[in-house]
């Protein structure tokens, strides 16, 4: 590669970095606005029109708060905890294919930080490192609540990582590649993986919720039992890093879900749009415009994913810890293995959507259970 393409590459990385941070900042506002909407109240509306400056105000406040380190804590590990959390959250975005390619002076450059042939493994590896941030921070605080929160976070994350890894395997089997770009390109148009891998999609999304420590899996920061969980002792921007990394993780995992299951930058009718644009604006400009539309499509999917995270937060109550572990180990893990089996059999026999059989069996089981269940008592009785 020559200098110009290196500069474009660096610009893409910096741009992706900036966009990730911006989205994470404004997710905090979106979360409070959506919470307000769902609970029939306004949410923040004082700082600027519709509260658009609220995240800036929060950031300034975070910076000017006292940076408190307890006397008993291990000072360096206490600082390293949130930094590590933030670092792992920021590193993942490098391999996500944000768009097709940009044409610039006879060159074609992919809109992606790094085009790795092991992209999904890289994401998986960095996500597994995330647990260290929580564990180190919680342990170094030398506070019983923090320690319990950290231990819970660690055991929850590692439990759901197994099902996460297994659900990805079904995708790799049908794609035959570990590269995220290859996986996206195979979902050209409307041939999204969710139509062939419905079970894998559900497992992956559930595990993504658990990995991000979001409701209904936010037991590490369960305030009724553990005060603040692993970040009980944190204040100032170190607390900010923990909260911020959660929002970045939400956005990135929405992007990964979109890339793996929802077609990434593909959208229905993209060939028609591409043909029209190249006819209207010439080959190079038309191609770049089509790439831009694809980028916006992925972006829209990612933002919808973030909204979905928040929607679920105000809809589903928190699990109990044993229920959480049972779901991860006794339900999702065997289900993921079953999914691999059906995907493999389907690919061998030449049927792509073989995993719909699992959905069918599950639906029948649920229906028979619902029929057999004793009638629910209603209070008051006449309703």
């Amino acid at each position: 590669m020559d200098t110009a393409s290196w500069i474009i590459k660096a610009l893409i990385i910096v741009g992706v970095f900036a966009v990730t941070l911006l989205i994470a900042t404004y997710s905090t506002l979106a979360e409070r606005k959506i919470a307000g909407f769902m609970q029939d109240r306004l949410g923040p509306d004082r700082a600027g029109p519709f509260g658009v400056f609220q995240p800036l105000a929060d950031a300034v406040k975070m910076f000017f708060k006292e940076d408190f380190i307890p006397a008993q804590a291990n000072k360096w590990l206490f600082i390293a905890g949130p930094c590590l959390s933030m670092l792992t959250a920021l590193m993942t975005s490098a391999v996500i294919p944000f768009g097709d390619t940009i044409r610039y002076e006879e060159q074609t450059i992919a809109v992606q930080g790094v085009e790795l042939n092991v992209g999904i493994l890289y994401v998986f590896g960095i996500v597994s490192l995330g647990v260290y941030g929580l564990m180190i921070g919680g342990w170094a605080s030398n506070n019983k609540f923090s320690l319990l929160g950290a231990v819970r976070a660690a055991s929850q994350n590692i439990s759901y990582e197994i099902a996460l890894g297994l659900s990805i395997i079904a995708i790799i089997m049908s794609a035959g590649s570990l590269s995220l770009r290859d996986i996206v390109n195979q979902q050209h148009g409307f041939a999204w993986n969710i139509f062939y891998q419905p079970v894998g999609f559900i497992i992956f999304v559930t595990c993504a919720f658990a990995e991000c420590n979001r409701t209904p899996f936010d037991l590490p920061e369960c305030e009724t039992e553990l005060v603040g969980g692993y970040h009980t002792e944190y204040s100032s921007m170190k607390l900010g890093f923990y909260l911020f990394s959660e929002y970045i993780n939400m956005f990135i995992s929405s992007l990964v879900v979109s890339t793996l299951y929802l077609g990434g930058f593909n959208y229905p009718g993209m060939d028609w749009v591409y043909a029209k644009l190249t006819a209207l604006a010439g080959d190079t400009t038309g191609h770049n415009l089509a790439t831009l539309i694809g980028f916006l499509a992925l972006f829209f999917k990612g933002l919808f994913g973030v909204f979905f995270f928040m929607w679920v937060r105000w809809t589903v109550p928190r699990f109990r810890f044993d229920q959480l572990m049972d779901l991860g180990w006794k339900a999702l893990f065997p289900l993921a293995i079953l999914n691999i089996f059906f995907t493999g059999a389907g690919e061998m026999l030449g049927y792509h959507g073989f995993t719909w059989i699992i959905v069918g069996i599950m639906t029948i089981l649920a229906a028979t259970n619902a029929v057999k269940a004793p009638p629910r008592k209603m209070y008051p009785a006449d309703v």
């Binding site: 990385i13 910096v14 970095f17 941070l21 975070m62 910076f63 000017f64 006292e66 940076d67 408190f68 307890p70 006397a71 008993q72 804590a73 600082i79 930094c83 933030m86 670092l87 920021l90 590193m91 490098a94 930080g113 790094v114 042939n117 342990w139 605080s141 030398n142 506070n143 019983k144 320690l147 319990l148 660690a154 055991s155 590692i158 439990s159 990582e161 890894g165 297994l166 395997i169 790799i172 089997m173 035959g176 590649s177 570990l178 005060v227 002792e233 100032s236 921007m237 170190k238 900010g240 890093f241 572990m325 049972d326 893990f333 065997p334 293995i337 089996f341 493999g344 690919e347 061998m348």
Partner: protein, 123 residues
């Protein structure tokens, strides 16, 4: 289309790492320098809902968590074994599929043993 992948492909990851580290270190330095600093003996204690703290948090915790961690190491290694198989799944054909079924059968047998032993039982 066969593409060569060189170690230099990973260079942009280091750009991203540098960017992330720079952001984190700058933020940490700024927040450490501009906040107020007020210390007292009571304030520096670990927070335990206002009750005087008993000992510290370097206490033994439930062995269940340790067992979960051990199980994770075991099962995650099995999952990693499946990745190269999944990439070459189509070229391996029926033979590869049956072999992996055998492997997964052994895995599930171990999993069944773990459940019957009550390792995943929480009370």
């Amino acid at each position: 289309m066969e593409k060569m992948h060189l170690p230099s492909d990973f260079l942009p990851i280091f750009i991203q790492l540098g960017l992330a580290l720079g952001f984190i270190i700058t933020t940490m330095l700024v927040t450490h320098s501009i906040g107020p600093k007020r210390n007292s003996k009571l304030k520096d204690e670990a927070f335990e809902c206002g009750i005087p703290a008993e000992g510290d948090a370097r206490t033994p915790i439930s062995v269940k968590y340790f067992l979960i961690a051990i199980l994770f190491v075991l099962f995650d290694v099995e999952v990693i074994f499946m990745y190269p198989w999944a990439v070459n799944f189509k070229s391996l054909g029926w033979a590869g599929f049956v072999e992996m079924l055998l492997f997964m059968g052994l895995l599930l047998a171990g999993f069944y043993y773990v459940i019957r032993k009550g390792v995943l039982k929480w009370e």
